[in-house]
Symmetry: C2
Subunit: 348 residues, 2 copies
């Protein structure tokens, strides 16, 4: 087991300086502290005497997701996690970690410096620097909607997207829809890829063909509504599956703007069952994710990893919530949309 | 909420008789008792006053799997489940349910009659009568190595087979093997299908082609060793992936019998890391399933379902255990096996 001495030897500094650096003393420069931490991680150093006030610390790392207010996407996830963790004796910090911060310090060094025993990580994209490091990370982490292959210390929790889109497509198919399009996020996000593939799989399972001009994926909602949506509507889709409720809401409004009635001309399905989904006009048919349950499962999986039960994947069931934004494909006759611009002429 | 009265009305018998039947009184015939139970399930009756001695009962349902002795496959699964369940205040029965018993009584009626709140089910094949019923079952169940689509009350736990075979094929590929065969169980088992597909997926991911005459699947080990193994060896495979350790052990012995040296002529990989895997000759390279962890996760998932957190899938990480049954494809030169019989002449 590597000790403080090994770090000191490797860096050619005193044991006292290493100790100070590890404990965040003021008289050690940030540069040296970083060097000590990275070396500690590199040689596999673990604190053996844990200070009493940091014995049971976990962190929830958030990026790109709001969680402070009850309406925020991450709110109930964080709450669900804390609801199990705190009574079990854990202290839980919620920390926002920007891409810049990830470039400054490695994941393991960050965890070591704060004496966190494990992290629940929400909202990272595949381009985040720590995603690469998590492939070999030693400190347990559970990722919401992200998957790392073959590192048993890192688990994945989320909703079963395959099942979700099987339900969505069966629902639309049952309503007579066969000309179905898809709008989703960009391929730098694990969950966007998953949903895109799940959509294709579900269409295939129902014997429906997917035309490439009926699929649009972008990081920007505006690109989906202004560039891809007109293309979908021009290609005579009668239903559109959207990868998030936020996108679905924007699509409904854009459809209306273009003179396309929802659900008479085109049915729309979202994903998440966000708090506002019941109050869009028309109310949104969507796939419910139970955020609080996701948070609870996040804690359970992290706790399991810390006690060396290596959960790799934990998927919650999705639930189809049927509201007014989907209807029979036969109910209205598809009217040629009034003012769909050619996508090339569209300002993004 | 349906009551005892509704059952009595529906069957045209007295409330007292219904009550007696539900409580297993001796003076009610088995036929009537069964009719009462099935009717209770049909109309959605739930006991509202639970007898104190049956308030917290769960069952582990086993079929086709031994669990009594420490060397048995199911032993540590059952133990892992109980280790969490009993301290949490649950009483756990282990019950063997034959196919005949499943035909006599439905799953929900069985659970209602014994006042079990949930079941952890180990060892069922896709042909078991209850597998069909579980698609619409109301009493929570967690299945080891079996999956039911879209019934949120039934969860699936197991090991990540895709990842397991990615590791196995990468290991073999790294040793120079490209001519790889597969022997597995029959397609009436969910996990056999999963492993078969995972093998194909992993081969494809490594750019390796799979020839149909290099795959053999059967319920009977003897069919694998006597019918398929000679065909594989004749087709010049240098490595064989087996879906279980038991099969791998039989394959090693059969290879030796046929004058094929393991690992010099052919490398063998198993699955499970059963207690005997370290003591085969040569010792078996295999994929470890942590049975006790599977049991613990089984309880967690069942407990979650009972408290309405709908876990659909929970997969543990697999681990590749490298022993002596795999070696470099270049180590030995493949000798034409001495006495491989033509499969048509082989007595099964």
């Amino acid at each position: 087991m590597p000790t403080i001495n090994d770090i000191a030897d490797k860096l050619g500094i005193s044991k006292g300086t290493v100790s100070k650096a590890l404990n965040g003393a003021d008289d050690v420069s940030e540069t040296l502290r970083k060097k000590v931490l990275e070396t500690a991680v590199e040689i596999g150093y673990e604190r053996n005497r844990v200070r009493k006030d940091t014995a049971n610390r976990l962190c929830i790392i958030v990026e790109n997701i709001h969680h402070e207010d009850p309406g925020d996407f991450g709110h109930d996830i964080v709450m669900g996690f804390k609801k199990l963790a705190v009574p079990a004796g854990w202290e839980v910090d919620v920390v926002a970690i920007t891409e810049e911060r990830q470039k400054e310090i490695s994941y393991d060094a960050f965890m070591l410096s704060h004496e966190y025993k494990g992290a629940f990580i929400i909202g990272m994209s595949l381009l985040d620097p720590w995603m690469e490091e998590l492939k070999t990370a030693r400190t347990p982490a559970v990722l919401y909607d992200n998957y790392i292959q073959e590192n048993p210390r890192v688990g994945y929790i989320g909703v079963d997207n395959e099942e979700a889109y099987m339900m969505a497509i069966r629902h639309l198919y049952g309503l007579g829809h066969t000309q179905i399009g898809y709008l989703g996020g960009d391929m730098d996000s694990f969950v966007s890829r998953k949903r895109h593939d799940a959509f294709l799989g579900a269409m295939d399972a129902h014997g429906l063909t997917v035309k490439q001009n009926r699929i649009g994926c972008s990081y920007f909602i505006s690109e989906c509504t202004q560039k891809y949506l007109p293309r979908l509507l021009n290609s005579q889709v009668t239903a559109i599956v959207c990868a998030t409720d936020l996108l679905a809401q924007a699509v409904i409004v854009s459809c209306m703007d273009m003179g396309c009635r929802v659900p008479e001309d085109v049915s729309i399905i979202g994903f998440d069952d966000a708090p506002f989904a019941a109050y869009t006009s028309p109310a949104l048919t969507t796939i419910r994710q139970n955020q609080e349950a996701l948070g609870r499962c996040g804690f359970y999986a992290l706790n399991s990893l810390i006690s060396r039960t290596y959960i790799g994947t934990l998927l919650l069931r999705a639930e189809l919530i049927t509201r007014a934004s989907t209807a029979s494909a036969r109910r209205g006759k598809l009217t040629t949309p009034r003012k769909i611009p050619n996508s090339r002429q569209t300002p993004v």
